[in-house]
Point group: D2
Chain length 240, copies 4
């Protein structure tokens, strides 16, 4: 397919209040992610929490093929109505890529139906992501694994539905494993949860991470999909 | 395992207001379902919408291994807090069996994360349920298919997550198919969606339907399951 | 991605010996399938049973992104060594599309690991294929279902592994259902089983059938996939 | 259900020729596994490679609810006819538990349809098995993980079909992860691949390992399952 239009959503608060984070992401995490997609020829819009409607107006969403979600400390500040609109859009066909701490975001937890709880530890540990499904479009162009030198650990149990396709499993030196690349079909939409990322590590400048997010954006974009018809239905065959 | 304790929840309104329905289920649909479980040696409690807390007090839920949910016309009357409590209990390990029009109930749609929409038609059509996964405990004791002489049709598209195990697919004479037996793991809990049933057909007296509900009750009951530990975690291995 | 090169394999015997079949497929079923792919801009090679190595030389397979398999009456005439070579190629990344009676072919049964048995009836019945996973690339451009006016019935039970993604379920007027579009990841390869097709019905001229086969060819083609490394491995982290 | 009858199959060669191995398993690995099942009240038979028909006569298999397979160095010595018979029995409903190096056995590779290749290293490393699906009967009675102090490492990529249910993921200190508890439905049968075990470590005396094998034996045993009917079928509904 041709390239999707991707809207990168970011909470965009801690970059303004925390000097360490601002040094790493001076223009916000969303800008770093958008820049990475740009390297792969993908056009982007951005939207942030403190804009009206969190930047997710109907006009923006009408143009959006895939929405990327980064949130961390202010999940509760996302209005229910906006979270529900995002969820509805996904079921209608918009792709959704949820990054790292977005596991606890309203759109993701409502689409998963589970708590999305997990283990975590901030200790700057190495993460190694092993490819599990080699033929999946999201892993094209990678080696059999890739590493992130400093990451926040996320460990199992990860309270999610069993992924429709499990693409990555992560290893951490402290003894944990994690399903770190999870694909879901929901309604007409496709959802990809991708673990890497953190506000205090420069992970969204990483070449492999950017590569996966670009692959996932193309995978999650809807083509010319069938339109399901719900409701009261006449028989297609005569009833005797 | 020993037999689970099953709580049968019913909206229990149309049986009181509609003469046709009362004739079929004079003591309510919940009583017919509970009687069916009794034939299989399974003890039951019942709970209904118009009781305080919809009958789903903590005391009742603490005793409940598996909750069966029947609702149809009054999904909106179920309090959000009760629906959320049921969802939380399922993630903690309570089994849930959702019957027929319960596809639109609050607990089910919140656990699925999708719209759960479908096609339907009330024309007293025959339904034939084909067994798809022959080794699954829910189909023990059945033939390769069974039939219901008069049913409301439900047809695809059925907007649910792909089942973790698909146990039945239904055929209808008007030209439709339907994934009519769907198993899900969610959190520590197990969920079974089972299509048959309707308020104007005597389906919960059917021998095969009762058999499946009994099998599903045993399948959905939690054993001595591991307790997941979430949150900030110390490393299990020393970090270098 | 750019278009894949697809090799269409056909038993190509009954077209030579049966007048009815020859009238429908005068140049062989493989040519009709290849013509259909050509309409979608996809280049093809063809290969048939009675060529040396059944036409599946290393030279041909080296060029092949996706192999389409049609066989019916002469599955036993396929040499084990060729079947094993096809299987190995799929695990290495070649796409495989298995059509209709190819369910009993050596490459498919060896890759599935099950009997691949099913129910069948030749009575020129209508088949209706319902889309089950609306966001999947294989169903792009379709309506919510499509029909084939005259088909051989295939019915459940279909003894296959539960598909990694179930794309279509078929309805037949005689009372049967069938999982008629089944996607599998195997090794680095992708496999699509697609039910429609028969030697005595002009199904491979059907617009929708050709459309699905073209979509499936693009889906099944491997991109720049990671190369798994098996065998004795040095530790990536120092062992204490 | 009542307890299954389990037949434990062992290659039983290295225990006779290698002093280190004999010291750990003086009566053979099969006896240690059978003893473990006995602790859980499960009756067993045993069968070994060098018996006539490898001990897997029709008489034995007729009695067997679940077959446990241990093999390592002599997979090639298993006769094709016996491997095919085991595969056929599984599809007909016999449970199969494949342990550790049995990943390369003929019955398992034929049922999986993939190479079943993996990474490995013999360095006496710790293995930690994390529970992934907490509500599954195979993990009843465990904690959220358990450890084996000294194990041969197996690492991803593991060339298997995506499990129908993934029950355990293992962590190893050298940087690897592994899908170490994998459930499959195949035909009427159920298959569990379980990674732990090795001929030079006393793993089959481990309390948790024995516990899982007992749970898996009960899970894999067939109940009163529907009998699929294949072949030419009369219509269940009149064709117009």
């Amino acid at each position: 397919m041709s390239q999707p239009l991707v809207t990168v959503w970011n909470e965009f608060r801690h970059e303004k209040t925390n000097e360490t984070i601002r040094k790493i992401y001076p223009k916000g995490i969303h800008t770093a992610i958008a820049d990475g997609l740009g390297e792969h020829g993908i056009e982007t819009l951005t939207a942030t929490l403190d804009e009206p409607e969190h930047g997710l107006t109907d006009e923006v969403l009408d143009k959006t093929d895939v929405l990327i979600w980064w949130g961390h400390a202010a999940h509760g500040a996302v209005e229910d109505a906006i979270a529900d609109k995002v969820k509805a859009r996904v079921l209608q066909g918009m792709g959704l890529i949820v990054l790292h701490s977005g596991h606890y975001s309203k759109p993701f937890t409502r689409l998963m139906g589970t708590s999305c709880s997990l283990k975590w530890r901030e200790a700057g540990e190495k993460e190694r992501l092993w490819v599990i499904e080699h033929g999946h479009p999201i892993v094209e162009g990678l080696g059999e694994y890739f590493e992130i030198e400093q990451a926040e650990m996320y460990g199992e149990p990860f309270d999610i539905p069993e992924p429709d396709t499990l693409v990555f499993i992560s290893w951490f030196p402290g003894g944990e494993v994690f399903r770190s690349g999870c694909c879901y079909y929901r309604g007409r939409g496709k959802i990809f949860y991708f673990r890497p990322g953190h506000e205090t590590y420069p992970i969204y400048y990483d070449k492999n991470v950017r590569h996966v997010i670009a692959n996932a954006s193309r995978w999650a974009a809807l083509g010319d999909a069938p339109v399901p018809v719900f409701g009261n239905a006449k028989p297609l065959e005569p009833l005797s």
